[in-house]
Amino acid sequence: MATATATKDKSVLWDWLTTVDHKKLAVLYLIAGTLFFVKAGMMALFMRIQLMSAENDFLTGQTFNELITMHGTIMLFLAATPLIFAFMNFVIPLQIGARDVAFPFVNALGFWIFFFGGLLLSVSWFFGGGPDAGWTAYVPLSSGEYADLGLDFYVVGLQVSGIGTLVSAINFIVTIINMRAPGMTMMRMPLFCWTGLVVSILIVFAFTPLAAGLALLMLDRIFGGQFFIPDMGGNAVLWQHIFWIFGHPEVYILVLPAFGIISEVIPAFSRKRLFGYTAMVFATLVIAFLGFMVWVHHMFTVGLGPITNSVFAIATMGIAVPTGIKIFNWLFTMWGGKITFNTAMLCASSFVPTFVLGGVTGVMLAMVPVDYLYHDTYFVVAHFHYIIIGGIVLGLLAGTYYWYPKMFGHKLNEKLGILMFWLFYIGFHMTFFIQHILGLIGMPRRVYTYLEGQGMETMNLVSSIGSFVMGAAILVLIINVVYSAFNSERITVNDPWDARTLEWSTPTPIPEYNFAQTPQVRSLDPWFYEKVHGDGTMKPAEPMTDIHMPNGSILPFVIGLGLFIWGFGMIMINMDDTIVPPFLVIGTGVILTFGSMLIRSIKEDHGYHIPLEQVKKIEKEVS
């Protein structure tokens, strides 16, 4: 991590465990997210090996169920979300001209709670197998009667990591509203900040129902509750409602930041400002609002009645309108631009048609009568992978190649990058396009095998080969990261892409205080404006003085650890024989968590100042 720092007396490990710097937390998010991504990707490969031929016995049905559940859960909660948070953490404070997020301590807290929540979910493999009821965990399949200990890990682990996501989101809302540099009005914010704000709001409104639903399911499973148990007067459909009130916005939580990244990369490499900025902001807000009003389209076949289904079908089709606005704006941004096709731009521009394919199948699924045909087939699998890989992962890859020089001080290798892109793109379409047809001829999703002679063998084989190609692409990316770290030329200029937004006005490596003087923003795309109309440097909005910085703290790590132990203790209640009594473990966790909170409340910590001479010295070093 390339950061010029004023305090170098900490050991590396201690520094990373206690850091509250948004740039370092971004790297932590990036590493944690990538690890979970690779893990869940391996699970997908195992599943594709199992489905390569008819009646294959590479995996048992139980293992397949566990893999399918963990693949979905990890990819959505522990891979895509932290990877998006990585970019939001790194980029948003820089793009709005802030020294850090509003609450650096809470930022670190969010990361560590998310991380330990993910760890809690992952240790389920060592205690009788992972959760096996699908990532949606529909009751009664996920009730105590049918699901084993794995699902307790799902319920408790997701609650813990959900707290982390929630506090981070609240932090971003406060940051974007309060910490903008002078002149950075809401309508001058880069689109990535806008989507970051909207997504944080979505998280606050969507993760709360999820937390409530998981808490109810936990009460059912661990404490003998009956919210979702029909035999005891509970309502099984209630869970589906609660889950999808969260679950549908979750899709937008993931895809909107990808839209934001695309809206940064495309203008930068088309040498044009973003077409229809105001319409883009408006479309983002409309998508966010409609995202909450369509959850029943996941439940058309439950039998809620034709009127309910029609209302939600129409609302769902309505989302196509703002999304279409966005698609056309990206196309018009590229139209007539001087386009550079490097890896970031290849990912960003190929995102557009791929996402359209996913969107079109989405509108197809919104039509109730035919949804009865598509429901729970591979058509649905193909549809949401076009959204998630074709939308989110391509966006994240574009963001990785685009912001990599700012984050790590050197570019990723372009030749390997382009190889990765084509492998990924071809592998992706090979895997998932054919799954549309598989679904249409009737292959159900979430089954671990199929019979011979139903015309599914060849297409499944093609799909599996495609997934290996996609895996190879990720391998090339990892090789690229290692190769570039050793061989790539160090970046010494501020702005290697000749880009437009404020983060490129900071020196590389970025000093820990980001901006020695808060910049004065005079336009949308402030850095581009200064390069064209000004003298190529940001005008300062304040004199150079001592810079106030927050102190690092180990408490976020300890609180995360405490919640991990506490959660594990809760799960131990359902274990048959435990070495230590569960309440001892729960007690330890509670004491660690609330003890750390108490220390945080009592101990006064006003941070420290970097003196003016030191700031000047660092500025001279990096420029």
């Binding site: 709001i201 459909v237 609002f289 909450f292 039998g303 009645g305 309910t308 006003h606 420290y608």
Partner: protein
């Protein structure tokens, strides 16, 4: 500079006018608090004593709840004050998002029993 932050101040930095304004604000807060307690007691009485028939009691306490919600938001959580545009926007969008969800849940789960 940051070392002095923990020391208490000997004298308030507010002007006379500001102190008066704060005192007035406090009075409004206490009054609205007392009024809200009164509303709560009213709701309790309406349900517990059975002097009001059940059919009327439900809309009645819902009405009290709405009044209390607005008092809580605008007087207790300061949404009425200046420079509270963002909190207002958030609360209102929260209401806008959760109301249809709640109504839909009540209607759907009420009509379709499983």
């Amino acid at each position: 500079m940051s070392d002095d932050l923990s020391k208490p101040f000997t004298k308030s930095s507010m002007s006379e006018e500001e102190i008066m304004k704060i005192n007035k604000e406090r009075k409004i807060q206490v009054t609205s608090f007392a009024f809200m307690i009164f509303l709560t007691i009213l709701a309790f009485i309406a349900v517990a004593t059975e002097t009001i028939e059940v059919g009327f009691a439900i809309p009645f306490i819902l009405l009290l709840a709405v009044v209390q919600f607005f008092l809580q938001m605008y007087y207790f959580m300061h949404l009425k004050d200046k420079d509270h545009g963002w909190p207002n926007a958030f609360i209102i969008s929260g209401v806008v998002l959760s109301t249809p969800a709640l109504i839909a849940l009540i209607l759907l789960l009420g009509v379709t029993k499983y």
